[in-house]
């Protein structure tokens, strides 16, 4: 039994206490405190990131919690994503009349849940982190409560999410029943031989189903388009980035760690999910007119590519997944910064055709959007190409030629709808220009755009960091 060693979890503890203090600070003043509270939350994220970078290695809380290079890599990404998507909400929420301080506090607790998730070393702490995240997300999805679409999004997400949580819990109980432990280290020992009873495999599949729901992989993707479309745009941006990274990281830790020797079993499940997600993401997005819905299908497709690396179940594959998710997150945040900025005469716009002609009226934003779209399509030398390069490399090395071939085919199909957005921006005649955008969005767009464009200059450090992270869980 490992000792309590609770100081190891300083980042999470700090974030939790900061959350409570900020909540108190938000409640007490008479007037609305959305902006100062958001700033305080972003500050808390920054401090937490610094603490994460200095975090030691080892397990804590009697083996429930683990800190290693992998958790550090994922946590920094998650904190970055959460902070940037909160910046996207600053101006939008004020204009949409939902500029309430609870929003920022809920994001903080969701983020804390994600940090617990990626540090989980036990099915119980996994569940606690996941639920903390999910409950916060249910509320945020319905945050624009007077808008029926937002309320619908929250309700749909809650009902389906609760079902997924149920599946996960049921799977966990089966695993516990057949393997005798919920601790990842002891599960790994118990399953070391590579043979598993039928009950355990069923439990594993249930756990996988619950986690696949969170990353919206086919066939557990049904909620994604509706929730993405209904939720306020900054919320969609948050949904598409940090929680995806957290859930994929969690999936990797669970599969590579305790179930690492059962790769032959789970690899097939992930294979199916990967192929399904790539196909659905490519074909279903073609007909979409609503750009948030389109991004929902696009994100399903991207998860499919990431899962390709996971299905290969090799260190190269895991590394590919991490690199892919990091690049995907940066590009997505940039894209959503553009979507949040789509506003004409004070009204928020959501149709693809509303982007028409911004190549003329707003060349800077159009250029960044084009960069993000080409990057998502995986055209070199932009960052998205390197993400694809590493997962395809893993697939080729592992001899997964069908996965690679499906990936190639869907890439071409998906390129079509990314190009359509570029086409609308540059080739079509526009109507009135968009409203001037707040400086925060420009900063986010430019920062993520520059990273996307210049990634090719210095890919080595990020890939080396991903390599170290993967070695920690697969070693």
């Amino acid at each position: 039994m490992s000792p309590m060693n609770w100081t190891l979890a300083t980042p999470e503890i700090f974030l939790g206490i900061a959350g409570l203090l900020i909540l108190a600070g938000g409640v007490i003043p008479k007037k609305e405190t959305f902006f100062p509270v958001s700033m305080a939350v972003i500050g808390a994220f920054v401090v937490t990131a610094v603490l994460v970078l200095g975090q030691g290695e080892g397990t804590a809380f009697l083996g429930q919690y683990v800190s290693d290079a992998f958790s550090r890599f994922a946590k920094v990404l998650i904190l970055l994503g959460a902070a940037l998507t909160l910046v996207l909400a600053l101006d939008f929420n004020e204009k949409a009349g939902i500029g309430r301080f609870e929003y920022a506090v809920l994001m903080l607790f969701a983020t804390m849940g994600m940090l617990v998730m990626v540090s989980a070393n036990d099915l119980m702490s996994l569940y606690i982190g996941l639920e903390l995240l999910s409950l916060s997300l249910y509320v945020i999805a319905a945050f624009d409560r007077d808008n029926p679409r937002s309320a619908e999004a929250g309700l749909k997400y809650f009902v389906l999410g609760a079902l997924a949580s149920g599946l996960l819990l049921y799977g966990s109980s089966l695993v516990y029943g057949f393997a005798g432990s919920t601790n990842f280290d002891r599960l790994a020992d118990a399953l070391g031989g590579g043979t598993a009873s039928l009950g355990l495999v069923v439990g594993l599949v249930f756990v996988l189903a619950g986690l696949c729901f969170k990353i919206s992989a086919v066939p557990f993707h049904m909620w994604t388009p509706d929730v993405y479309e209904g939720a306020p745009t900054p919320v969609t941006a948050f949904f598409a980035t940090a929680p995806k990274v957290a859930a994929i990281a969690l999936l990797m830790r669970v599969l590579a760690g305790p179930f690492g020797d059962l790769a032959a079993q789970w690899s097939q499940v992930i294979w199916v999910a990967s192929v399904g997600s790539m196909l659905l993401g490519a074909f279903a997005a073609i007909g979409q007119r609503n750009i948030k819905r389109l991004m929902a299908y696009s994100s399903i497709g991207h998860v499919g590519y990431a899962l390709m690396g996971l299905a290969v179940a090799s260190e190269v594959g895991f590394r590919g997944v991490l690199v892919y998710m990091a690049i995907y997150m940066v590009t997505s945040i940039g894209t959503f910064a553009v979507l949040v900025a789509m506003r004409r005469n004070g009204r928020s716009l959501e149709q693809v055709d509303d982007l028409a002609g911004i190549g003329r009226t707003d060349p800077a934003m159009a250029m960044w959007m084009a960069v993000f779209m080409f990057s998502m399509a995986g055209i070199p030398p932009l960052a998205g190409f390197f993400g694809k390069l590493y997962v395809f490399l893993a697939a080729v090395q592992g001899g997964y030629w069908v996965l690679a071939a499906v990936g190639i085919g869907t890439s071409v199909v998906a390129t079509y709808y990314y190009l359509r957005i570029v086409k609308v921006m540059y080739f079509d005649a526009g109507t009135a220009p968009l409203d001037a955008r707040p400086a925060g969005l420009t900063v986010v767009m430019t920062a993520t755009g520059v990273v996307t464009v210049l990634f090719f200059l210095f890919p080595a450090p990020i890939i080396a960091a991903a390599q170290v992270a993967v070695a920690a869980i697969a070693g």
Binding site: G359, P380, P381, F385, V396, Q397, K423, Y426, I463
Partner: protein
């Protein structure tokens, strides 16, 4: 590093990007921005041209080794590096790119009036990517440049193109992307087996016949679309017709050469066995391309479409020459690529001259142009004759060499190539007669102005090159002689070894 002591290839590659950056930073009124963008782009491309001439003078023609080599660590743990260098195959294509770009910018001087800044940026980025592609000696680096070319070209066709520009741009992009992604898989498979993507190192690697088979098919998918070979050529006429004049020039002049260059650089040296096995298929497709597209060209009503189809026919001669695996065939293919790069570009510029004045590319719209534009008629004739491969002009030496090389392999193949020359004369002269001679039937044609000084400046270097290449081809052939000889020797050695192993 190299004899000159500074990284000349990187400089030539990235200088246009610096120009693009400068243009992007220009602020002010639209007219001022447009003027600045034009001049900056012209100077950036001219300085690049001047620098690239150092490659011409400094190149050692006696060796087949890579020259002006530069290396830098990029992804060391994967064996991927930043590795640039040129040999006899690639050096002249870099020069072709640097010569055509300033001419394109000159040709767009007055015809592009909207979003001039973005146009010039796109052209400079395009130039950088083209040069980088020919200079890259690392597979991943090559792929990045190879694909990145698509982005500016997509925008050039889509924003400044004609009526069906959106369709043409999307078709161009998706066609080439589908091919390229298959090549990416092949590159990954090679990378996995060899542990490196360094091209000179890979030349020493040998692959099993089965693997060669699949790799060849994957490369073929990419390069055949790019060349383009029959039957995957259908994107080209659309792209050419809809692209603005300068876009067509770059498309015909350089982008089509990327496919043939890929065959020469990768398929032949890396996959000798599969190349030999697939040669009959390539011959068949090339001869079909030559004869079929020449016949199609005869029936065209649109000048640009006619020249587009003639390009496919000429590229058929090129692929035919490459897969003869003889010194004559390979040299002829390389020479034809260069001469076609000059002549087809010039023909598109000629069409552009008329289009700028009349805004129509329809052949029937013209006739009797020689009476009002005598200088133009002369220029057009030089390039028409060049395209027909009249002895003494650039088209002739290359096609002759290809036919000689083909004759060594199979007389019937040579006959097919000859048919192309005959049909080529037919459609080119037919075009020339309909546009230039005859009576002027339309009133507005009588008021046409002859070439302007700017247009003279655009055509002068091309005429000079066409005549130079025709009269004294050795000054170009010498560049690739040593490299081609080494390529043929290695190919025969590899086939000999395979035959021994098979016995």
């Amino acid at each position: 590093m190299n004899a000159a002591g500074f990284p000349i290839l990187s400089l030539v590659t990235f200088l246009p990007l610096a120009g693009a950056l400068v243009i992007m930073l220009v602020r002010g009124e639209e007219a001022v921005v447009a003027r600045n963008a034009r001049w900056t782009a012209l100077w950036a491309s001219l300085i690049t041209l001047a620098l690239s001439l150092l490659l011409w003078t400094g190149f050692d023609q006696t060796t087949a080794d890579f020259q002006f080599v530069e290396r830098a660590a990029w992804l060391p743990e994967f064996g991927v590096g930043y590795h640039m260098g040129v040999d006899g195959i690639s050096v002249l294509f870099i020069l072709l790119s640097t010569i055509l770009t300033p001419l394109c910018i000159l040709a767009s001087w007055e015809s592009i009036t909207t979003r001039v800044r973005e146009y010039m940026v796109a052209f400079l980025v395009l130039e950088a990517m083209m040069i980088g592609m020919f200079a890259a000696l690392d597979f991943v680096l090559f792929y990045i440049f190879f694909e990145a070319v698509l982005i500016p070209m997509f925008l050039i066709i889509g924003i400044w193109g004609g009526g069906r520009r959106v369709y043409a741009a999307l078709k161009f992009f998706l066609y080439t992307l589908a091919g390229s992604l298959l090549m990416l898989l092949a590159i990954l498979a090679i990378w996995y087996q060899a542990g490196t993507t360094d091209i000179p190192t890979l030349m020493q690697e040998s692959f099993t016949p089965r693997m060669q088979f699949w790799l060849f098919l994957a490369f073929f998918a990419s390069f055949a679309v790019k060349v383009p070979m029959w039957p995957v050529h259908t994107w080209l006429p659309d792209a050419h017709v809809e692209a603005p004049t300068a876009g067509s020039v770059i498309l015909a002049g350089v982008l089509l050469k990327m496919g043939a260059y890929g065959f020469l650089r990768f398929s032949l040296p890396l996959l000798p066995q599969a190349s030999a096995d697939f040669a009959p298929l390539i011959f068949a497709l090339s001869i079909i391309a030559v004869i079929y597209t020449s016949l199609v060209a005869l029936a065209q009503e649109d000048m640009k479409k006619l020249i587009a189809y003639s390009s496919i026919a000429h590229m058929g001669i090129v692929t035919l020459g490459i897969f003869t695996f003889t010194a004559q065939g390979l040299s002829g293919a390389l020479f034809t690529m260069l001469s076609h790069g000059i002549i087809a570009s010039a023909l598109f510029l000629c069409v552009g001259v008329l289009y700028d004045r009349v805004h129509s590319r329809e052949i029937a719209r013209y006739g009797g142009v020689a009476k009002v534009m005598p200088a133009y008629a002369l220029v057009f004739m030089v390039f028409t004759m060049g395209s027909v491969a009249l002895p003494g002009l650039a088209g002739f030496p290359g096609e002759l060499l290809v036919i000689v090389g083909a004759f060594k392999v199979n007389p019937w193949v040579a006959l097919g190539a000859c048919m192309g020359m005959i049909l080529g004369a037919a459609y080119a002269l037919y075009l020339y007669r309909r546009v230039i001679f005859g009576k002027i039937v339309r009133e507005d044609l009588k008021a046409l102005l002859d070439l302007s000084p700017r247009e003279y400046a655009t055509f002068a270097p091309l005429i000079l090159l066409t005549i130079w290449m025709g009269i004294y081809p050795s000054s170009f052939l010498n560049f690739f002689e040593a490299t081609v000889a080494a390529l043929v020797a290695r190919h025969e050695a590899a086939l000999g070894a395979a035959r021994l192993a098979g016995m």
